[in-house]
Amino acid sequence: MRDSIAFLLGDTPRTLRGVDPTMTVLEYLRGPERRCGTKEGCAEGDCGACTVVLGRPRADPGAAPGTMTYEPVNSCILFLHALDGCQLLTVEDLHVHGAKLHPVQQAMVDHHASQCGFCTPGFVMSVFALTQSAASVPDRAGINTALAGNLCRCTGYLPIVAAAKAACAAPVSRDDATTVQRLRAMRDPAPVRLAAAGTTLFVPTGVDDLVRLLAAHPDATILAGGTDVGLWVTKQHRRLPVIVSLEAVEGLDRIVLCEDRIEIGARVTLEALLPVLAGPYPAFAAMLRRFGSRQVRMRATLCGNVANGSPIGDTPPALIALGAEVRLRGAGGARTMPVEDFFLGYRQTALALGEFVERIDIPRPRMGERFHVWKVSKRFEQDISAVCGAFRLTLDGATIAEARIGFGGIAAIPFRARATEATLTGGLWHEATLASSRETLARELTPISDMRASADYRRIVACNLLTKLHAETWSPGATPALAEIAA
């Protein structure tokens, strides 16, 4: 057990001991380090002014040895322990004193991509990360995805798009091999325990340790990416006496591709999941691209989105429609349940004391299956859904063999529309069935009214999603019978 963490700040080794485990990386940079280039715009992960880059040795199979990945993250909601074993890069690290500007910085100047300059360091770091990961110059959609988490109030963004394209056209590599060596040399496999300021934070390294810790501290806060829990501390000023982080737990970051399902571990981030889902479930991947921002997806996990039991989580409707299962684990062993059974009430879940969400299993697509998920929000990126609707239809020719429907943003818990499913199942996927299913859905849904949308709007839009589903999945004569597909 260690009582310290070690990382590279730029190229300088740092070891921290006795720090408040809920101190954020932003507070650390601006406080003890007096590195004020990284800015606080909102302190809740919404604006990206605090974007820094975490570098880590590439671990994926097929990665060239001695290469790094560079992840843009919001430092305002990132606790310090996440730095352990990483390289932390801030805007100050790009430019060597007295030397020319870094090409990303120069591109920002050349394209008039900075006005007041407050959001600029965050944009510089997001663009820098993009230059390190993009294989070619991204198109506008690619740049939108990379920069959606950075708000700018002065430039109108278009000059920043131009700067990002210019920077990606001539990326400058870092000395990854040296950094990898230095990080390897610093690596300490021992679990971490940080205790200060009334909080003890454990970073276990094995699942068994994790289970034991949770049994010993059943009231512990379980921390995965921290994009939600971070706000409990920074905005709600909650005291969290014991935190158990999944950051270093061996195996939980794995995605296992089985014959019939995809197993997604508790530490798998949405950004890591995106390319995996793009093949089997492009609609799910497209929705995930609008989930938070790249900085948020770099940390946020699928299991965390479910485990927190938020009514506005965007993944539960899709998981419900897909028939996904959640696997819980505790000292008494593991148990599995359908995702829809996991949610009991507002922020209440089936997790027993000492249990954690170990993984989520998503079934692979079956023959004749059509899956769609739509998020309806005012703003395209980084917005909370007014309605999120997910649909899985299994069509046998014109007949609906099976229907599963999940909705989010409607009520206190994610909702499975069983009555509507029943109306659809066995019917012919014609206008008449659409009309009757719309009627059932309108009766079945009892949405809330809030500032985002009225109950009436939510109900009608949810029904309109059924119509959209029909338009997307039905054209007479084009849907083969299951037997034909099999043949």
Binding site: V109, H112, C116, G117, T120, K378, M451, L465
Partner: protein
Amino acid sequence: MSAAGEKDYQASPSPRLAPGAGRVVGQRVTRLEDAPLVRGDGMFAADVSFPRQLAMRVVRSPIAHGRLLSIDTAAARALPGVHAVWTAADVADIPPIPFRATKVRGLEPYCQPILAAGRVRYAGEPLAVVFADDAYLAEDAADLVVPDIEELPPVLDATAEPAEFLPGHSTEPTVVRKEYGDVAAAFRDAHAIVELALSVGRHSGVPLETRGAIARYDASRDLLELHGAAKKQHWNRDEIARLLGRPPAGVHLFEGHVGGGFGVRGELYPEDLLVCLAALRLRRPVKWIEDRREHMVATNHSRQQHHRIRAAVDGQGRLLAIDDVFFHDQGGYVRTHGARVVDLAAGMLPGPYRLPAYRVAGHFRLTNKTPAATYRAPGRFETTFVRERVMDAIAARLGLDRVEVRRRNLVTPAEMPHARPLDTLGTAVVLDSGDYPGLLDTALDRFGWTALQADLARRRGAGECVGAGIGFFVEKSGLGPSDGVRIAVDKTGGVELISGAASVGQGVETVLAQICAEALGIDYRRVRVVRGRTDRIEFGNGAHASRVTVMSGSATYRAALAVRAMALETAAGLLQAAASELSIVDGHVVRLADPGAPLMPLGEVARHMGPDSALMVGRTPGLSAERWFHSAHMTYPYGVHLAVVRIDRGTGEVRVERYLVANDIGRAINPMLVEGQLAGGFVQGLGGALFEEFRYDETGQPLSTTFADYLIPTLAEVPPLDLIVSEQAPSPLNPLGVKGAGEGGTNGVGAAIASAVDDALRRPGAVVSLPILPRTVHALLRT
């Protein structure tokens, strides 16, 4: 031109900068400001720290309206590390926040005290302040301060009957009225009358940097410093000095980097005075940094108005008269701007159109919300929406094309300068120059307006819900009365330019350096621009109302010409030549006949003009000059916004597919920076048109207090944007011919998008309020 403005209205005397691009003026040079900003070396308010500083935290009212019975501060005071906790009783000797920008009398009872006394009037109002060793402690202590507030019913609707603000004072302190022409006759004789009720939602500047203020008192020099200042340093300095009973020279304000202004930052707020007072009393530096949630309830809101407007037209759709009654939702107090936004709205509503008769009554009303003031294009974003809705309504009523109705009413170049029997901001409204129909044609051509109509018809035929919209606007800029600039050349040829201007991130330093360099004949990168500091120049009117390039730019031009003349005169003596035969090129004195051969560097001339130089005996030494520019009239930029939108029939979402802003600003000192202003302004306008709104529940609780609830546009919302920076109508009122470029990008967005949504819905007049929300559009689709 009518008699109203003739008396004092005259063109700026020469010398004027020759039209067209110069060596550096008119060029797309990169900004002097950028290098530190992209390196992370900027010094914003939160980056300023002093040894021994205390942190200030404001305890804010959780209640929208109530009687403040008591505040229990005992537990907070008892917390170790807490140095003081103040309530209204502790600051009773400090007067409330004063006005700087209103002619309206009688607003004093509505001023905001620096800490609430007796009443709370909006959720977020400062009730108490805590001073502690660090920000975390201060926050903890603030949580221990317990106010006892007896709730009163909140006033949340500015169109409702006025209530009582204080005994003897209603919630309507004034009605701003303007009128000319025979309105009654016009309506009596009208061919048609259109009548609309229109609303603009509450939104605001919301810069990425929140506010901050850091004060320190140097007892050894009896000097109070305030850091984190912006926009109006000199006025704020004078007022802080007055309110704290100190001489102005004993107070200095410092503007570092400023993370966006947009109207809201740099006004004098309670927190500015509180940190100053605390630095004096506690003898420690005091730092206050607003957090985002505070910002959403503490910093000025803007925009919220409801208009009931009628227009009388003849058979050709020509305006005969407009009669507008509007209600301005001011929020809990009247802040520094007084009734300025109401005055601007009333004065600018007629816009680019010939209007024989006009009557307006602007009801200035207090409610129990965050106080409101100016936000980029104040009073114009609102009234351009309202006026252009009227023009669309006239077109619909008379069965005319929307563009044609505008063309029939636009003031023509032959009518320029066009004086209206109106005033705003204390100046007569005289549209100084412009070719409105010309720019309209240019914009429509560039957008492919005619072909677009056919394309939209085809797409509608294919089932799409698409439409195009138009908004024409007139801006105002270059508000006087004066600004001065001092330029000095040092022995190395470096130039220091000291201005009373401020910078909120828009590129002031680069633009002033370009003007200076053009006039003086040097590289603009040799110019160091000082701004936003009261200790370097005695006066300054700051950065607001799109005034800096006009006012400080013109003063810079004059001062640089004066320095140039001095340099040439001295060089002529040294070189045994006539000054008229010499010039300055690239920082060197040259002969006009042989400009490629440098004769003497400018620094050498400056050295000969130093205090030790024999040449200067009996004269004031230094190659330096100070010049002023005065203006009694504003300049009026103008332009066109064009939009194409697509509506999702299932959800009511409005997506802007493409957009054009055309803006004539007389002359672009740096076209790249002008485009930056237009693009950034447009996206802010887009926010107000479709996304941004400060909402309240029925008890006056603010609902939009985070970036998750108050939606400013992200990159994904920004459509392809075409910009026309037009220079067809230089202003006759200043030596550069410039007009301000800061607000035209924002001004017409609500108008153009509303027009486009109507067009997509095929329902003229469908849009009656901003922001245009999916649920509203969705409801329109169903009826």
